[in-house]
């Protein structure tokens, strides 16, 4: 086993997040231990009693990014009130399953009495609308998932 062979082996182990590895063949015996202290280190991250933690359903930039493959989230670029339609009596800008073009208006965020149109940055199909009409949304909150 040469260095190049070992390098390739390690790449595979790293990508699989293997921490301990032991391989014995006739030619060699390989043992290795990767990564920090071995311990999944995070006992210290929450200085708060459970009752103080953010309820999981609450809107927040803290939401885990929806990392489904092929789905691109649209984030709120400003803080304000989310509207799906230009006016209460009008149809929504977009609906789930609809194909949108780059630059097409997806919603309005009202901030400081100004209506800000939020446009699609990429073309694709609306797969999910994550905010409800009239919801307050914060900076960075996911509003739509678009399949590109």
């Amino acid at each position: 086993m040469d260095a190049e062979e070992l390098r390739r082996l390690l790449e595979v182990l790293v990508s699989a997040d293997v921490r301990e590895f032991h391989l014995k063949t006739e030619a060699f015996d390989l043992q290795l231990l990767r990564g920090a202290s071995g311990e999944p280190s995070a006992p210290l991250t929450s200085p708060l009693p459970p009752q103080e933690r953010l309820p999981p359903g609450e809107p927040g930039a803290s939401q885990e990014p929806s990392a489904q493959p092929g789905l691109v989230p649209v984030h709120a670029p400003i803080v304000g009130t989310f509207y799906t339609a230009p006016a209460p009596d009008q149809p929504p800008f977009v609906t789930v399953g609809e194909r949108v073009k780059e630059g097409q208006v997806l919603c309005i965020i009202e901030a400081m009495k100004l209506m800000n149109e939020i446009e699609a940055e990429q073309a694709g199909v609306i797969r999910e609308i994550l905010a409800k009409n009239g919801d307050p949304v914060e900076f960075g909150q996911e509003l739509f998932l678009i399949e590109t």
Binding site: A42, L44, T45, S46, P47, L48, E52, R53, L54, G60, A61, S62, I78, V79, G80, T81, A111, M112, P136, E138, F139, G140, Q141
Partner: protein, 450 residues
């Protein structure tokens, strides 16, 4: 007064320990708290402890903590009735205070008018003259080199050039001879333009070797003003305060004069809320008014410790229109308090900021110790903001005891994962100059060689 309906909800437009301080005051008043934050502060203690939180932008403060539209939107859409700006960021921005008013929100602080009046050095100087409070001999805004040369001749060298709108030592130039003056003036104007978008520069007689002493006041906005004693903030490094104490070690008669001058100034502008009048005191015991800070200060806890008055609570009460039921004769200052600002900095490497992961943090406890910190074990200090991670404050019946108490409290305190200023403060507590109470603003450089 805690029972009286005040605000139902306030928005806190700040971060770190001062955001937490306001959350605490609001909770004790039964007021709902909404903390706005940048993406870098999502796991910070004030965000985690507030009733609600709204992200208002990415890490750079210009896009989050200074993002007025997002902050006002957050207030309006969540039904907050008032905004506490903390210190720094938007705390001394009269335009922001005006915009709050325009949107029907209470700005917890003085009126935009008194902020305008007190915001510039030139404004403060004019006010002081009206109140017969001494300022450092100097000029108004300099029209050009001619005026600068003749003013300097009149004041006598060395003189100091200063940005009228500035602070924190930026745009300052010491001039010791006539020859240097024209070039220094041009440089100061450029720097002032760069940092404060205003090239106006004033000139002052340079005072060498002085203490920084400041007077804490509370005003009700209708002309009633009380003081809560003074603080000595002379332990500084590059114009940044490190250690503060209350009261000062100045002679009693000088203290009385200073306090009276502070109250006179604040009364003149019918000041509302908590404010601080900064003075310098030279070696001969002359004092000069420098400027007024129209906000809560980092070092407010030392005043709270000796007065028993909760300054942040009073800021909220006064902003809500509550009468200032505290009178001067109710204020009894007791004992001595010292604050050390625990900064994530490396004193051995020119105080370079040391952001990073706090593996373990343990602060002192026991009698007479107060800890104001937003840090916790596991907290990641973001590199985007200042390096203050906590304040250690002690209170004891006298100054010698307070120093002994601070010493033992510093020894008990541990921060693992980042470098802090704790080892420096242990040395200061043992330093004969500091123990004698004879520290000037050049102490850290001149006496400790840092």
């Amino acid at each position: 007064m805690a029972d009286r309906a005040l605000f139902q909800k306030i928005l806190i437009a700040n971060r770190g320990e001062i955001a937490l301080r306001v959350v605490r005051a609001a909770k004790e008043l039964g007021i709902q708290t909404l903390v706005v934050y940048s993406q870098a502060d999502e796991r910070s203690l004030p965000v985690l402890l507030a009733d609600e939180s709204v992200c208002v932008g990415p890490p750079p403060s210009s896009k989050s903590y200074l993002n007025i539209p997002n902050i006002l939107s957050a207030a309006l859409m969540t039904g907050a009735q008032a905004i506490h700006p903390g210190y720094g960021f938007l705390a001394e921005n009269p335009e922001f205070a005006e915009m709050c008013r325009d949107h029907g929100l209470v700005f917890i602080g003085p009126t935009p008018e008194s902020m305008h009046l007190l915001g510039s050095k030139a404004g403060g100087r004019k006010l002081a003259a009206e109140c017969e409070v001494p300022t450092v001999p100097g000029t108004g805004i300099l029209s050009g080199v001619e005026e600068a040369l003749s003013s300097a001749r009149q004041l006598g060298y060395p003189v100091l050039l200063k940005a009228s709108a500035g602070g924190g030592g930026r745009g300052q130039r010491v001039v010791r001879t006539e020859q240097e003056l024209p070039e220094a003036l041009a440089a100061a104007q450029n720097e002032a333009l760069l940092h404060f978008a205003d090239p106006s520069v004033i000139m002052e007689k340079l005072i060498e070797g002085f203490r920084h002493v400041e007077v804490q006041v509370l005003g009700d906005g209708r002309g009633e003003v009380i003081h809560l004693g003074e603080r000595d903030c002379s332990v500084q490094r590059r114009n940044q305060k490190l250690i503060e104490e209350a009261p000062s070690t100045l002679p009693e008669s000088l203290r009385r004069e200073l306090l009276a001058a502070g109250v006179r100034l604040a009364k003149r502008v019918q000041y509302a809320g908590a404010g601080t009048l900064e003075f310098i005191v030279d070696r001969d015991g002359h004092f000069y008014f420098m400027e007024m800070n129209t906000r809560i200060q980092v070092e407010h806890p030392v005043t709270e410790m000796i007065s028993g008055v909760d300054l942040v609570r009073w800021q909220i009460l006064i902003a809500a229109g509550h009468p200032l039921t505290l009178h001067q004769e109710d204020i009894h200052l007791q004992g001595h308090a010292i604050e050390c600002r625990i900064n994530a900095e490396d004193p051995d490497r020119e105080f370079r900021p040391s952001p990073g992961h706090i593996d373990n943090i343990h602060f002192a406890g026991g009698p007479g110790v107060r800890v104001d910190t937003h840090a916790y074990s596991g907290y990641q200090i973001p590199p985007n903001y200042d390096s203050l991670i906590g304040k250690l404050i002690v209170h004891a019946p006298d100054r010698a005891w307070a120093i002994a108490r601070m010493r033992r409290a510093l020894e008990e305190s541990v921060v693992e994962g980042v470098k802090t200023t704790i080892p420096l403060y242990l040395k200061v507590m043992d330093h004969p100059y500091y123990r004698r109470g004879a520290v000037q603003t050049d102490f850290i450089r001149a006496q400790m060689g840092l």
